[in-house]
Symmetry: C2
Subunit: 346 residues, 2 copies
DNA sequence: TTGATTAGATTAAACGTTTGACTTAGATAA
DNA sequence: TTATCTAAGTCAAACGTTTAATCTAATCAA
C-alpha cells in the first residue's frame, strides 16, 4: 500500500531542504523563504495532496487536534444530540472527536481513559460514572496530570471539582413538581432508576424539596433497578404504578423521556387513559416526545447547545493551559404537550 | 501542565536504557531482557500509569489503532445504531473511532477526508455522498493511495468499486411491494426523497419492478425535495398524498421510518385513519417504530450488525494490507406491525 | 588457557515535523 | 577596502518509539 506525502517528498521535488518546505508551508516568520519558492512549494503540496502528519507534529510539541468523548450510549437521542453539538463546534475550532461508547460500565470507561492517554488527546469530555472515591476519579486525575484537559458534561457538582457543563437538575425537578401543582395535581409520584448517579439524586432531592415546600406527601416513589433504552425493565415499575393507580394523579419520570415513553406504552396497552387517569412528565425533551400519542410533556435540556458549549469551553481551557475552576449551567424549560391533565381544584 | 510518562522516565528510574524498557514492555523476542528486570520495569510502568504514545509508535511503522467514520447525521437513529456496532466491534479489536458528522454536505466531507489523512488513520468507514465522478470519489482514491483502507457502508454498488457493507435495497423495496400485494393492496404509491443517492434509486427501481411484475400501475410516486430528520419538508408530501387519498390504499416510504413517522403524524392530525384509510410501510426499523400509534410496519436493516461487520471487515482488510474487492450483503426483513391493513380481495 | 558461545544489555538510526543556530552571498556603510 | 548587515536558505537536534546491530561478561568446550 501507498504512503502519505511527506515534507521530504516535496523538498526533493522542489529541490530545497525539508526545513524550507516546513517554513514555507507554515509561513509564520515572514520573509524566511522567498515568495517565489513559497509558491512553488505550495503548488507541489497541493498537487500531491499533502496533509501534515499530526502525529509527528504532536511529538514536536503541537497539541493534537483531537479530544476524547465518553458517552454512556450514543444510541440514546440525548447523547447523540449532545455529541452532534460537540462535533459541530469542534469542526469550527479545528478539533475532532474520538468517540467512546461506555455503556456505563466501569471497565469500558477505564479502557477509554487509557486510549485517551495513549493517543495523547488534547482534552476529554466525560459523561461517565466518575463518582468521588471511585477508581475512575483517580483516572481522571491521571488524565489531568498527563496534560489532558478534562471537562464533565451532564454530571452533578457532587462528582468533584471539574470544569463542568450542566443544567440545574435539582431546580428542574423542583420546577416540574411546581408545574404539576399549578395544573391542580396534589398526589404526585416519582419514578426513578436506582442508578447510583448524582444527577438522579439531584433530581430526586428537587422533587422531595418541592413536595415538602408545597406541603404534599413526598413518599410516593417507585424505584426501578434495571433499565436500558431498548426495553426490559420498564414493565416492572409501570405495573407497580398500575396496581396503585389511585395513589397519584401525576408522575414525574427520571432519568427521562425514554423510560417515560415505555411506561406510557405499557399503561396504554393496559387500558389506562393518558392523561385522563394519569398525567406524566418526562425529562430531556428528546425528539420522540413529539411523536408519541399523546405527545409527552417534559423538561427540556438544551442538549445540542450544551454539547457546543462543552467543546468551546474545553478548547478554551486547553489554550489557556492552566486549571481554572469553571462551570456553565444551562437553562431548563418545561415543554407543555399532551400528557398532563389540568385539574380544577374546587 | 503535566506531561505523560515516557519510556525515558521509566528507564531512568529503573536504571536501564530506553531500549531495554521498550523490549521489556513489548516482551516479544523472548529472553532479551532478564525476568527480574522485566518485572521491575512493569512495576514502575504500572505505578506511573504508563501508556505508550501511539503517535510515536505510528511514526515507527505501527498502524494507528484509529479509524475514521463519516456519517450523514449521528442524531439519526439509523446511524447511531450503526455507529454503536462499529464501536463495539472496534473495542474488541483494539481499534477506535474518530467520528465525523457531515450533514451530507460536500464541504464537510472534504474536510473529514483531510482530517483522516492528517491523522494517518488506519482506515475509514464512509457513509457519504461519494457518487462516481464527484470530487469526493477522487478523494477516496487519495485516501487509498495514502495507505488508508476505505470501506463503504449503506451505499449502493453504483458508488464504485469499494469494499462494501450493505443490504439489497432493490430487493427490499421489491419485497415490501410484494408484501403489500399479499395483504390485498393493488394501488400502492411511493413516497421518495429527491436526494441524488444511489440507494434511493435502488429502492425506487425495486418498487417499480415489483409493480410491473405484478401488473400494477407504478406511476404513483410522490417526490419530496427537501427533508431533514427534525421536521420541515414532510408536510408538503404528506399533504399531497392527503388530497389524492383515493389514488392509493398503501404507500411505501423511502428513505425510511423518520419520514414515514412524520407523514403519519400529519395524516393523523388531519383525520386520516391509519391503517384503515391508508396503509404505510417504512424502511430501516428504528426504535421509534415501536412507539408510534399504531406501531409502524417497516423493512428492517440490521444496523447494529452491519456496523459490527463493517469494523470487522475493515480491520481484516487493514491487516491484509492489500486491496481485495469484497462486499457483504446483509439480510433485510419485513417487520409486521400496525400500519398495514389486510384487505379481502373479493 | 584460548576461543567460541550465549544471555543480557546498550547504541544508534529512523519515523515526519519544527525551530534555534548557523551559513552564504550579496548589499550597504564607514 | 574592510567590516557589518540582511535576506534566504540549510543544519541539526529533538519529540517518543522501535529494532537491527553491536557490545560485554560470563559460561563452556577443547
Amino acid at each position: 500500500m501507498g504512503k502519505a506525502t511527506t515534507l521530504k517528498d516535496i523538498a526533493s521535488i522542489a529541490g530545497v531542504s525539508v526545513a524550507t518546505v516546513s517554513l514555507a508551508l507554515n509561513g509564520k516568520p515572514e520573509g524566511r523563504v522567498s515568495a517565489e519558492i513559497v509558491e512553488r512549494i505550495e503548488e507541489i503540496a497541493r498537487k500531491l495532496n499533502y496533509q501534515p502528519d499530526v502525529n509527528a507534529q504532536r511529538l514536536k510539541g503541537k497539541r493534537l487536534p483531537l479530544v476524547g468523548l465518553l458517552v454512556p450510549n450514543i444510541t440514546n437521542p440525548f447523547y447523540s444530540e449532545m455529541t452532534k453539538g460537540i462535533m459541530d463546534a469542534g469542526r469550527e475550532l479545528g478539533c475532532y472527536v474520538v468517540l467512546f461508547n461506555a455503556d456505563n460500565a466501569h471497565e469500558s470507561e477505564a479502557i477509554a481513559m487509557e486510549v485517551f492517554i495513549s493517543m495523547r488527546v488534547a482534552g476529554a469530555i466525560i459523561c461517565g460514572i466518575c463518582d468521588p472515591g471511585t477508581e475512575e476519579e483517580k483516572t481522571l486525575e491521571t488524565l489531568k496530570k498527563t496534560g489532558i484537559q478534562v471537562l464533565m458534561i451532564d454530571r452533578s457538582e457532587w462528582n468533584g471539582h471539574w470544569p463542568r457543563i450542566m443544567i440545574d437538575n435539582f431546580q428542574a425537578a423542583y420546577d416540574s413538581v411546581t408545574y404539576l401543582y399549578k395544573q391542580g395535581h396534589r398526589k404526585i409520584a416519582l419514578i426513578a432508576t436506582a442508578w447510583d448517579l448524582n444527577i438522579i439524586n439531584d433530581r430526586e432531592r428537587g422533587y422531595k424539596k418541592a413536595m415538602q415546600d408545597l406541603g404534599l406527601d413526598d413518599s410516593c416513589i417507585y424505584r426501578i433497578s434495571t433499565y436500558q433504552l431498548t426495553g426490559m425493565g420498564a414493565e416492572t415499575v409501570a405495573e407497580e404504578v398500575l396496581v396503585n393507580l389511585d395513589k397519584q394523579t401525576a408522575v414525574l419520570v427520571i432519568p427521562g423521556d425514554t423510560l417515560a415513553i415505555e411506561c406510557i406504552l405499557y399503561w396504554k396497552n393496559h387500558g389506562v387513559q393518558i392523561p385522563e387517569e394519569l398525567s406524566v412528565v418526562g425529562f430531556d425533551n428528546i425528539y420522540m416526545c413529539q411523536i408519541t400519542d399523546p405527545p409527552l410533556t417534559t423538561v427540556d435540556q438544551p442538549k445540542y447547545e450544551m454539547g457546543r458549549g462543552a467543546m468551546e469551553l474545553l478548547v478554551q481551557l486547553i489554550d489557556e493551559g492552566q486549571n481554572r475552576d469553571c462551570r456553565k449551567v444551562y437553562k431548563h424549560r418545561i415543554i407543555e404537550r399532551g400528557t398532563v391533565k389540568k385539574i380544577n381544584q374546587g
